[in-house]
């Protein structure tokens, strides 16, 4: 059990529905400070939605999201603006601003939140780019970057304000092995070097298990398991096991609901 | 470098737009920039105003000296009463001037032509022009022509 001051984000009783479908139903999650926490689960369980709820882009139907002492859903505009200074988010597609150069993209949060002089901004941007290994690409436009490079620039932008929390939305999806390796390495190194809390949302078992300190598994609007990677390997649950081992059939069935096979073949021919 | 192109382009665009506005104002619509100051109102009654409309020109010897501001029916005399605004600097219209409704060109619009008389006094605010000539109505002309022809 972790003591209170070790938890940076405390989510209690979170409920959120999109139309008819419940995405979260009374979910409790504790994100430990300074560690890499992974939120995992099958596709469509609302993992990205969770990041948006933490960041205040969406409001939950019920429940609290406590960031230290602040309840995010209840914050006013000004306070939300200040809280966002402490968060950095890496979107799935990188989401670089296409009309600005790499340098301008990374400098953007600095220009919005601070009034630092140009020389300082330049130094900070170059440092962040150096950390992700793209200092030489600073004058390129996003359209000239490869997918992997774009994500690294987006990561540099996410950490440009030295946030307390960095959120990664499916960072490993669709990457070639080298880019994947680079990203995994970066996430780990930055987490250790800068001491921030990392929250990774992913469904990529191998990579995530490699760097996560603590894992939550979501399914059907609830948390079905949580723990360190070692603890989860021993969990006695069909759902968890199917997910962790990547079994094609189990609680999440292989076959889409269909009538009896023989009857279907013998019945309608068209 | 790119920002400079944008700024120059936008500046040129705005200039072109304003230039277009000026062209429209002066060359296309003949906006009269030199305000002739105010004017004084003069009235005239006609049997038939034809196609005369408000804002029509009032001119003397072909030069504009005012414009028609209002047209209404004089219920006592059962005639049309035309109100004209004559420019202040036109102060030489004698009280026996005549006003006729004329047509500019073949299909042109109608205007009021004023021919000054020989009186000592001049028209002032609110005066009436007594000597008027109504607009020519085509049917009456044809009627008159045929009548004359029959008479011959």
């Amino acid at each position: 059990m972790k003591s209170e001051s070790d938890t940076i984000i405390d989510i209690r009783g979170l409920s959120f529905s999109r139309g008819e479908r419940p995405i979260f139903d009374g979910v409790d999650i504790r994100i430990p400070r300074g560690k890499v926490t992974a939120i995992m689960g099958p596709s469509g369980t609302g993992k990205t939605t969770l990041l948006k709820l933490i960041g205040g882009q969406l409001r939950p139907d019920r429940g609290d999201i406590l960031l230290d002492d602040l309840n995010v859903p209840k914050l006013g505009r000004r306070e939300l603006f200040e809280v966002r200074e402490r968060m950095g988010m890496l979107f799935q597609s990188g989401a670089l601003f296409t009309d600005m150069s790499v340098f301008e993209n990374v400098a953007f949060p600095l220009r919005v939140h601070t009034e630092l002089p140009e020389e300082m901004i330049r130094d900070i941007v170059l440092m962040k780019l150096q950390a992700v290994g793209l200092r030489g690409a600073r004058d390129l436009m996003p359209s000239e970057l490869s997918g992997g490079m774009a994500r690294r620039v987006a990561l540099a932008r996410a950490i440009s304000l030295d946030p307390d929390i960095v959120m990664y939305d499916e960072p490993f999806t669709g990457q070639d092995p080298i880019a994947m390796g680079v990203l995994v390495n970066l996430i780990r190194r930055l987490n250790q070097a800068l001491g921030h809390t990392s929250i990774i949302v992913s469904h990529d078992i191998k990579e995530t298990l490699g760097i996560a300190d603590y894992i939550y598994i979501l399914s059907d609007a609830k948390v079905i398991a949580s723990g360190t990677p070692e603890e989860l390997a021993d969990v006695d649950s069909d759902k968890v096991r199917q997910f962790m081992q990547g079994l094609p059939d189990g609680p999440v069935p292989f076959h889409y609901k269909a009538p009896d096979y023989m009857q279907d073949l013998l019945g309608e021919t068209s | 470098m790119r920002m400079r192109t944008v700024e120059i382009g936008v500046g040129a665009f705005m200039l072109a737009g304003i230039a277009a506005l000026i062209v429209l104002a002066l060359n296309v619509s003949g906006l009269n920039l030199s305000e002739q100051g105010g004017g004084y109102k003069v009235y005239a009654r006609f049997e038939n105003i034809g196609g005369l409309t408000p804002r029509a020109k009032v001119s003397m010897s072909g030069v504009q000296i005012g414009q028609v501001t209002n047209i209404r029916i004089d219920t006592r005399m059962l005639m049309a009463e035309v109100e004209m605004e004559i420019f202040d600097d036109v102060d030489y219209l004698t009280t026996d001037s005549s006003a006729s409704i004329l047509t500019a060109g073949l299909l042109g619009e109608q205007y009021i032509g004023i021919v000054p008389g020989a009186d000592e006094e001049v028209l002032g605010e609110g005066d009436y022009i007594e000597d008027t000539q109504s607009a020519l109505v085509l049917e009456e002309l044809i009627g008159k022509f045929l009548f004359n022809k029959v008479g011959e």
Binding site: F91 | V10, S29
Partner: protein, 260 residues
């Protein structure tokens, strides 16, 4: 039967909801503390994309329409012996109707669809969400400059269209068909009134600019963030803008010129 009624009701309600959302973003984008230092460069850049880059199609179309007006006008009027009036015909048609309306339609097709596609793509690539997470309101930073640029550019483009059209008409009538230059311009100046015709035309163009830009920006902001969604939104921009311009034109014409 019941199904049809239900679908009709559903569609009406969703259109109303869309109108509500559209009004909301219009209000939220425009009504805020002005920040000229930040906004001005953004607006200038948008005026470039929305206005300056539309100049080519506006000038070419204006020129051709003016020339056709001159040609057709002459052909029709010469039967009545009134070919001298071709100048005022071209000018009045352009200034009162064709310049604001056609320029607005072209604007909707070129700039409107570009705005919708751009904003839709920003939504699909999560750039708008990124802005929000960094703490910048995308309505103020992305939408508002584009709205202001559209409002400013539309009347300018309409006036340029009118002037180029009149020049085209004069080219055909005076240089080609031999109308006397003096009477071409004199007749025009006599019958085109600045306040009643030119200013009304400009007012029309301003209204059209507001409507077209608003529709374009809303469709992009509200679209389904997939490639199919963006293409649907772009189509909707062009169709709705065009219909709105034509409908609004009738209303405005009736109001402005109805009593004349």
């Amino acid at each position: 039967m019941l199904n049809m009624l239900q679908r009709l009701g559903h569609r009406t309600l969703s259109r109303l909801a869309a109108l509500g959302r559209a009004s909301q973003i219009l209000f939220q984008s425009l009504v805020a503390r002005p920040q000229p230092l930040v906004m001005l460069p953004l607006v200038l850049k948008q005026i470039w994309f929305v206005g300056v880059l539309s100049l080519v199609i506006i000038v070419v179309s204006g020129g051709f329409i003016g020339m056709v007006l001159g040609l057709q006008g002459y052909t029709i009027l010469v039967d009545y012996g009134s070919e001298q009036a071709v100048g005022q015909m071209v000018a009045l048609s352009l200034v009162r109707e064709l310049a604001p309306v056609v320029a607005a339609l072209l604007f909707a097709g070129r700039a409107g669809s570009a705005l919708t596609a751009e904003i839709g793509l920003m939504k699909a690539t999560e750039q708008l969400a990124s802005l929000e997470m960094i703490g910048v309101d995308p309505l103020r930073r992305i939408i508002a400059p584009r709205l202001w640029a559209g409002f400013v550019c539309m009347p300018l483009l309409a006036m340029i269209f009118a002037v180029v059209g009149i020049w085209g008409g004069s080219l055909v009538a005076v240089d080609w068909l031999g109308i006397y230059e003096g009477s071409f311009w004199a007749n025009m100046q006599q019958s085109v009134s600045f306040y009643d015709d030119v200013v009304n035309g400009i007012i029309k163009a301003v209204c059209f600019g507001i409507v077209v830009t608003w529709i374009a920006v809303f469709q992009g902001y509200d679209c389904i963030p997939t490639s199919e969604g963006i293409s649907q939104a772009t189509t909707r921009t062009v169709v709705y803008s065009s219909l709105a311009v034509l409908g609004l034109d009738f209303v405005l014409t009736a109001l402005m010129f109805g009593e004349l």
